[in-house]
Amino acid sequence: MKKKFADIQTNQDWEQYFELIYEHYHASLCVFAKSFVNDIDEAEEIVQNVILKLWEQKESLCEIISLKSYLYRAVRNTCLNYIKHQKIVLQYKDAAWIKLKEIESDFINPYQNTELEEHINNAIAELPERCREVFELSRFDGLKNKEISAKLSISIKAVEANITRALSSLRKKIEAYKHSEQNM
């Protein structure tokens, strides 16, 4: 894929170059942005602006060593700025939350790791029935706790408890897998 990008860059066929960006990075950048902001539209808007900005500077693209990390970095910074701005005017996000977001996005490698994902999916499949159901509704269908509680006729507290349970169980299973891999 790197070669593909490099080939186009030498030909200076920018439109094709940016089409590749959309094809390969757009969706995962949007998901990344959505972990900061609450709304799908907002996330898409931020990513679109980052790519448009890159278009404006396309002549200096060759100076960017890793396109992928540039894009993720730019999306991260735009999101953080956006949240900070929102915090000032809406006062609904607190300083600690933003700090946690910063730490989290520094540590998280947003690149796709299919092997890890496969293990996570296996671990999810092994969760107890109700626990898995709640976790999947929250993560995969994007339902709010309130909506899950209404759908399954359980209390919000129970929804929260199940998600916490799912997360600690995922953590245990995946740490165990990592550990066994290191010992191999």
Binding site: F18, E19, Y22, E23, H26, A27, S28, C30, V31, D39, I40, D41, E42, A43, E44, E45, I46, V47, Q48, N49, I51, L52, W55, N81, Y82, H85, Q86, L90, Q91, Y92, D94, A96, W97, K99, L100, I103, E104, F107, I108, P110, Q112, N113, E117, I120, F135, S138, R139, F140, D141, G142, N145, I156, E160, A161, I163, T164, L167, L170, R171, E175
Partner: protein, 326 residues
């Protein structure tokens, strides 16, 4: 509360300010904690990534991108194109508007055009005007304003429920018109709630002059005063007793020795629910406390805990409070 539970709430964006502080202190306490926090976050995001990616349409996004850059290449009316593109998106993020206004700085000679916006979301939409005044739109509220104010006055038109935070500028009065009233301000913060033929204005800071469009009757409102206007009546200023008038924007409900009658009506307004009581005496019970961004259920729990003689039941959006039988 254990740490995984805190992290899980944080990831679902349901944690409170206090919980975030506890979590942050734990996370930065040791490198090990930071790593544990980061790894749980990673599992969370990695588990739903595929499904989440499907929610975004890269083809449409690229089509939009192509449209923007081809228009840009013509080197004309850059801002018009961008503005009309943004108009297609129902909820325009504040960051976009900031972006647009920075374009305006570069394109000073461009003539002004009208920008219209409606908040179709439940969340409050913040609009930054060309003079950096801000207008917060409640659900379904509408605003239209020029991309560049003329030098004599700043005119905007609103409908529905909005809160305005106006930049002070003595030389350029700020005029808000709604179908019912016109509000003239110099630099202040105030809440406007307008619906069919009636309107109310509550001033948080500074002063405004409110004029009825129908009768031209007017009144000057100062801080913490309100006016309720209906088409054919005189306008009278009264002291605002509604301390939670901005809760739709701030998410904060404050009660200070407030009777439950008022508490319930504030909760009904905030959460769009309806609360009934089995005995009217319940209304005179007194509550004090501040609640920020709580779920409805949490507030109800707190109230039930504060009054051991009360219990409640909830069916969909209707909550009924009753005295516990001895």
């Amino acid at each position: 509360m254990n740490i995984t539970e805190l992290i899980s709430k944080y990831l679902q964006k349901t944690s409170t300010v206090e919980e975030n502080i506890v979590l942050m202190e734990w996370v930065i306490n040791s490198e090990e904690n930071t790593k544990e926090f980061a790894s749980i976050c990673r599992y969370w995001y990695a588990s739903g990534r595929k499904q989440e990616e499907k929610k975004f349409n890269s083809h449409t996004a690229f089509a939009k991108f192509k449209k923007i850059i081809s228009n840009e290449n013509q080197q004309t009316k850059k801002i018009h194109v961008l503005a009309s593109y943004w108009k297609q998106i129902s909820a325009v993020a504040a960051v976009v508007i900031l972006f647009a206004s920075s374009f305006l700085l570069f394109n000073k000679n461009i003539t002004s055009h009208t920008i219209a916006n409606t908040n179709t979301n439940q969340a409050v939409l913040e609009v930054v005007l060309p003079d950096s005044s801000m207008v917060f739109l409640h659900q379904n509220a509408q605003i239209s304003y020029p991309s560049k104010f003329n030098s004599k006055s700043r005119d905007i038109h609103v409908q529905g429920h909005v809160f305005c935070d106006v930049q002070t500028n003595q030389n350029q009065p700020f005029l808000v018109t709604t179908p019912t009233i016109t509000i003239q301000v110099l630099g202040t913060k105030f809440d406007v709630k307008e619906s069919k033929n009636t309107a109310s204005v509550i001033v948080a800071e500074g002063s405004v002059k409110v004029t009825s469009n129908a009768t031209q009757a007017h009144v000057i409102l100062n801080e913490n005063e309100r006016a309720d206007i209906s088409v054919d009546e005189d306008i009278v200023a009264t002291i605002n007793s509604d301390i939670n008038f901005l809760s739709w924007k701030t998410g904060i409900l404050t009660f200070n020795r407030t009777p439950l009658l008022t508490v319930f009506s504030d909760i009904e307004r905030q959460y769009n629910c309806s609360i009934i009581v089995s005995d009217k005496d319940i209304y005179s019970e007194i509550l004090t406390g501040t609640y920020q961004n709580h779920e409805l259920e949490e507030i109800l729990e707190v109230i039930a805990a504060a009054f051991p003689n009360l219990s409640y039941t909830q069916v969909n959006n209707t909550i009924s409070f009753q005295n516990k039988t001895q």
